[in-house]
């Protein structure tokens, strides 16, 4: 099969992949290690999944959706990722504060969770940046 996506289309797909990795990290860091047994906020999961769907649909269905709709999906996907990232960061601020403010009391597991989470942040940021660059493309598929 000949792929129809151009560079911007691949960036959109890459954004979806990074978002997926970030999501997995969010889920793992929220349910294992220091956070094991605690309730995970499901909203970022939901928003990220919808974002991934948008970011995959935009390049793969660009021909059917048309330029405007595909572009709108990129926009929606990015916004949802941005909101998810912000919620992810907000959920980890306590750990950051614990470790920075009184750096002698936290268990090692908390630091591990924070470090893993920061890796997750990075993937979300990469996903967002990729989607922004993709949005500057006129279209997502080759002529």
């Amino acid at each position: 099969m000949k792929l129809k996506q151009n560079l911007f289309g691949y960036l959109a797909l890459g954004s979806a992949v990074c978002a997926l990795v970030g999501l997995i990290i969010y889920i793992v860091s929220s349910t294992t290690g220091y956070m094991e047994g605690r309730e995970m906020d499901a909203l970022p999961v939901l928003l990220t999944i919808v974002a991934i769907v948008c970011l995959v649909a935009a390049p793969l269905l660009a021909e059917k959706l048309g330029r405007s709709l595909a572009g709108a999906l990129l926009f929606v996907g990015e916004v949802l990722l941005a909101v998810s990232l912000c919620m992810f960061i907000n959920a980890r601020v306590d750990h950051f504060a614990d470790i920075v403010f009184i750096p002698v009391n936290y268990p090692l597991g908390e630091k591990t969770t924070l470090i893993v989470s920061i890796v997750g942040f990075v993937f979300y940021i990469l996903a967002i940046l990729a989607s922004i660059v993709a949005a500057f493309g006129e279209k997502l598929i080759k002529d």
Binding site: Y34, M35, E36, G37, R38, E39, R67, S68, G71, A72, L74, F75, E78, V79, A82, V83, L85, C86, I89, N90, V93, D94, A97, D98, V100, F101, I102, P103, V104, N105, Y106, P107, L108, G109, E110, I128, S131, I132, V133, A135, F136, G137, E138
Partner: protein
């Protein structure tokens, strides 16, 4: 058009990202307003009252302007410091020096001494540096002339070092590279030469004395370990004992240089961890030794005042200074060596190590003096010691079985301290009251010297009989224990003063956890003795018992300084109830809250007994495995919340309209409490409880607007005089405000250990009044987290300088006096830590185990004095101006990081409820130490057992909501009481100062608020414009296409 669309689309997404980030930043910042204010020096809220009257200001500061405050703190700090330096040796009256003496300061610490703790109660940097109060300036200000070449050499070295930068709190005025505990930073002579080749050129010109300063840093989270020196890699750090608290090769080199070049050599000991000073005591070429601890930012004026005789030294050691600090029973179970074998199986992240303190009551002088007595009496095999359990004469640890010898173990006993003058003390009379609860003891002190005035300390010790009953039932007895103390006023030569002490005999009773399960008084002979120190007092008792140096005593005692009485009958009733009438029985010996490890593993632990010193000397209790109930408790989640109790009797959120300020000064029994407590909801309590990081959250239903709070025992860590106020008016708004003083802080006094070594209750009261109380008023910090009052179980707690002493009475009465002084100004103290924190190593998570006798007679006896408000100075009795003092105890505590037994300290019902709340009548505020509402604090168990707040960030347990607790009657009742504790403590503090019906909290636009608000508005507008533009162009394009299509 297409180009414009893609550009607008991309820019919209960037702007949307920035907007999301700004909103998130705002949300996060608003969760931590007080923390941000502390870091950035901003003010984000202010409590304002439209109008106030004098009556609204229950508590008055004595400092109306910034100048008065700074000067007042300085005056007090210098005056306090003068009484805290202990003269240990003064050969040939080497001291005092002439006021204009030309002296050479030697040793790295002579240029850059340890002014105070490196974290927790750090000395104020601005006051020291901007105020130019460093050691050399203070000495010169007092008239000493200092060798400039030596100063220049050390200055040159220090210019290569890095000044400590701020961590949380405030930066300590010290150099990072030398504020270490695993090294002994000192310069050898060759290193000195490399910084200044002619450093020694002015010896002759400044030869009145060489003053060598040796020191060790300390502070929160600092750890000292024994036997870490004498390794191959750093020979310059070698000490005689191999301990970091001994003198290193380099330090000895400097001392030798001093001895070689000066006729008079004085050594100042700049450390709050007891150092090994045997070499100095024995060296005839060292003329004087003075312990200065951590003098604080103004304290070297006081050091100079003592060195030059303006003031006679009057401090006494509050710890035993051993020849080898690592060779004693407490040190066998110390540090991080005892890890649970299966700690990793426990998921809450805070299960790591345990510490089984099987020395019992035998720590510090309780060990050394008791074993000495048994050696003199030739009993219990006291003189026989296994290899490693006694000290050789040269200070090294023994390597073969041998003989325990007091003179080899102790260099300076507890209570030791000299003066420039001499005193006589006579035990005039003793009256033991018929109810056995108090004794009236009268002592006359006379200055028998010719030249110098001075203050003298009366140290009253007691001995209770060690009987067959005790031996059969594991009741241990110290040969001597401090019962009370008083300090005279300054006595001129020939003057005398008579002091009568009302001695609390509940401190004499012993705790029998095996048979009677309460406090007992054995039948037999009891002794009171006064003495110059614990050893001297014991020798006096031994003399009264017919012993002399022929029996192996180190010196003959003076029986005239003792008083003997006999109680014919065994008594397990008099002290079987507490002062408030609560029955006292075992709470820490069996069950979930046991501190005795034998409760979890019967027969596992043998405690040290004086009936068999050598056979029961502690061993390192390693290799324990968690199982069964122990594991459930260690997992921090051991009480279930019920969901279907009848809770109809509990009312929440009622609308009675009462305000907290109406309860100012209200008694605990005031009928109105029930009404106002019912106004608070469970949700409101939980919200309050979770926000206690240097903060007192608002409780809107009772009109409480919230306040800031701060650490610590030495004054406010993060607020400065520029924020100072007097009765609601800012110093900075007053005419004549001196802006140059704005950065000065309140952390100016010597260390808490220094204060204890003054043995002066009145001085401690004044310390509490000013350092905590005035600070609380001036900076509007109703809660200051202090004083620190854990016992010095050994010499190796790196944070020991923030606590007082090894002895429960010296520590307890000092703490009590500080609390009374602080509370006289309305400061809501949080005494820390409750309880049993004696090392920084693994302080979070370490499970501390000890038998109930040790728990009650050492650490808890110490804390009880402050919580019950005991230890009133003799001079306050009959002084009308002091009638309102010591009428109630402390109103706040902070629990420790370490577990008490298996459970988090705040969840230990035995200590927190049965003993502290019930037996001692504590009715105040109880906060955890930086746990947040997290599993490691067992939050639900903690609130069930009287915890009112959690210091830290965030909530990470899923039951922290009203729905979880609302159907459990026990939790409902506990939360009701916790709410009353909070409101009662606040109503009886200066949180209500200036508060009336017009008081409200005004939110201010601090810099960080302006920042995120500006970003939100900016990016909001930008995003809006871009999105509208993008959509408009898309619509336009669509419309055009449709038109073209037609």
């Amino acid at each position: 058009m297409k180009k414009a669309i893609k550009v607008l689309r991309g820019l919209s997404m960037i702007s949307a990202l920035a907007l999301a980030g700004s909103i998130t930043a705002g949300v996060i910042m608003e969760q931590y307003p007080t923390s941000l204010d502390q870091v950035f020096g901003t003010l984000s809220s202010q409590v304002v009252s439209e109008e106030t009257s004098e009556a609204d200001w229950m508590y008055q500061s004595k400092f109306k302007t910034i100048q008065e405050a700074v000067e007042g703190y300085k005056e007090f700090a210098i005056r306090e410091s003068q009484e805290t330096y202990a003269l240990l040796k003064n050969q040939g009256n080497a001291l005092p020096l002439s006021k204009t003496a030309k002296i050479t300061l030697m040793g790295l610490r002579s240029y850059t001494p340890v002014y105070g703790n490196s974290a927790g109660s750090m000395p104020d940097k601005a006051t020291l540096e901007q105020g130019q109060n460093e050691i050399f300036r203070a000495f010169e200000a007092r008239g000493f002339q200092l060798n400039p070449s030596m100063l220049a050499a050390y200055e040159s070295y220090c210019s290569t070092l890095t000044r400590q930068s701020g961590g949380f709190g405030a930066p300590a005025p010290e150099y990072k590279e030398i504020s270490v505990t695993d090294d002994i930073p000192e310069l050898s002579l060759s290193e000195l030469r490399s910084f200044k080749s002619d450093f020694n050129k002015d010896y002759a010109a400044y030869s009145d004395a060489a003053i060598v300063v040796v020191g060790r840093p300390g502070g929160e989270s600092k750890n000292y370990y024994p036997e870490t020196m004498n390794k191959d890699d750093k020979a310059e750090n070698d000490t005689v004992s191999g301990n970091v608290l001994g003198l290193s090769v380099e330090e000895r080199e400097i001392i030798e240089e001093a001895k070689k070049n000066f006729d008079k050599v004085i050594v100042l000991v700049n450390s709050t961890n007891p150092m090994e000073l045997g070499e100095l005591e024995n060296d005839k070429d060292i003329d004087a030794v003075m312990w200065i601890g951590y003098p604080g930012v103004y304290g070297f004026y006081g050091v100079a005042d003592v060195l030059n005789g303006t003031v006679s030294p009057s401090a006494h050691l509050g710890d035993t200074f051993a020849r080898n600090t690592a060779v004693n029973p407490s040190m066998v179970n110390f540090g991080d060596s005892t890890t649970w074998t299966n700690a990793a199986d426990y998921k809450n992240g805070n299960v790591n190590t345990y510490l089984i303190q099987s020395e019992g009551i035998y720590s510090g002088y309780h060990y050394y003096e008791t074993r000495y007595m048994d050696v003199v009496n030739g009993v219990s095999g006291a003189a026989t010691a296994a290899a490693g359990t006694y000290t050789n004469a040269d200070g090294t640890r023994s390597t073969k079985d041998g003989t325990w010898n007091y003179a080899d173990e102790v260099v300076y006993p507890f209570g030791y301290g000299l003066s420039y003058t001499t005193f006589s003390q006579s035990l005039d009379s003793v009256k033991i009251m018929g109810d056995k609860k108090t004794a009236e003891v009268t002592v006359t002190v006379k200055n028998t010297g010719d030249t110098y005035s001075g203050k003298s300390v009366i140290q009253l010790y007691a001995q209770s009989p060690y009987t067959d009953y005790d031996k059969q039932n594991n009741v241990e007895k110290s040969a001597v224990q401090l019962m009370d103390y008083e300090k005279t006023k300054t006595l001129a030569p020939g003057d005398s003063q008579t002091i009568t002490m009302q001695v609390d005999l509940s401190n004499l009773a012993s705790y029998d956890y095996t048979k009677a399960k309460t406090y007992i008084l054995d039948a037999g002979d009891y002794f009171f003795a006064i003495g110059e120190n614990s050893h001297d007092a014991l020798n006096n008792i031994l003399a009264a018992q017919g012993k002399t140096t022929s029996n192996g005593m180190t010196d003959n005692g003076d029986a005239a300084k003792t008083y003997k009485w006999t109680w014919a009958d065994f008594d397990d009733r008099t002290f079987s109830t507490s002062a408030n009438g609560t029955a006292i029985t075992n709470h820490l010996t069996e069950g979930d809250y046991a501190m005795d490890y034998n409760a979890f593993q019967p027969g596992a632990i043998t405690y040290l007994t004086r009936s068999n010193w050598n056979g029961t000397y502690p061993k390192a209790w390693g290799g324990f495995t968690i199982s069964g109930r122990l594991g459930e408790l260690l997992d921090c989640d051991f009480i279930d919340i019920k969901t279907n109790d009848d809770v109809s009797a509990f009312k929440w959120g009622t609308n009675s309209g009462m305000k907290l300020y109406e309860m100012k000064g209200a008694d605990w029994k005031d009928d109105r409490w029930a009404t106002i407590v019912d106004q608070v909801t469970i949700a409101e309590f939980l919200n309050f409880a979770q926000k206690a990081f240097h903060n007192i959250a608002p409780i809107e239903s009772v009109g409480y607007t919230g306040n800031n709070a701060d650490d610590g025992p030495g004054g406010s860590d993060t607020h400065y005089f520029k924020e100072g106020t007097y009765q609601g008016k800012a110093y900075s708004e007053m005419s004549g405000y001196d802006e140059s003083l704005g950065d000065y802080g309140t952390r100016v006094a010597p260390s808490p250990t220094n204060l204890a070594y003054a043995w002066n209750k009145e001085l401690a009261f004044e310390n509490g009044e000013i350092i905590l109380g005035e600070t609380s008023l001036i900076l509007v910090l109703p809660i200051i987290i202090g004083p620190g009052a854990n016992l010095h179980r050994h010499a190796y707690n790196g944070r020991g300088g923030e606590y007082y002493s090894e002895d429960p009475i010296l520590s307890g009465y000092t703490c009590s006096a500080v609390v009374q002084g602080a509370q006289s100004k309305g400061c809501l103290v949080n005494i820390k830590h409750a309880a049993f924190n004696d090392q920084e190593i693994n302080r979070s998570g370490v499970a501390v185990f000890q038998n109930e006798q040790q728990a009650r007679e050492m650490e808890l006896k110490n804390l009880r004095q402050a919580i019950e408000g005991n230890g009133k100075p003799a001079s306050f009795v009959g002084d009308g101006s002091k009638d309102n003092t010591y009428t109630s105890g402390a109103l706040g505590i902070m629990s420790s990081y370490n577990r008490i037994g298996a459970v988090p300290p705040s969840a230990n019902k035995g200590v927190m409820v049965d003993i502290i709340r019930n037996e001692w009548g504590f009715k105040g505020y109880n906060v955890t130490d930086f746990t947040g509402v997290s599993l490691k604090a067992s939050p639900k168990e903690s609130i069930l057992y009287g915890t009112t707040a959690f210091c830290g960030f965030g909530v990470s347990v899923d039951y922290w909501n009203e729905e979880s607790f609302a159907k459990d009657a026990d939790f409902c009742a506990a939360i009701k009481t916790d709410i009353k504790y909070i409101l009662y403590a606040l109503a009886n503090s200066n949180a209500m100062n200036g508060v009336n019906s017009t008081t409200r909290t005004v939110q201010l636009m601090s810099t960080w608020r302006k920042l995120y608000t500006g970003l939100e508005i900016g990016f909001g507008i930008t995003t809006g414009i871009l999105v509208v533009g993008y959509l408009a162009l898309e619509v336009l394009t669509l419309v055009r296409k449709q038109k073209e299509g037609k």
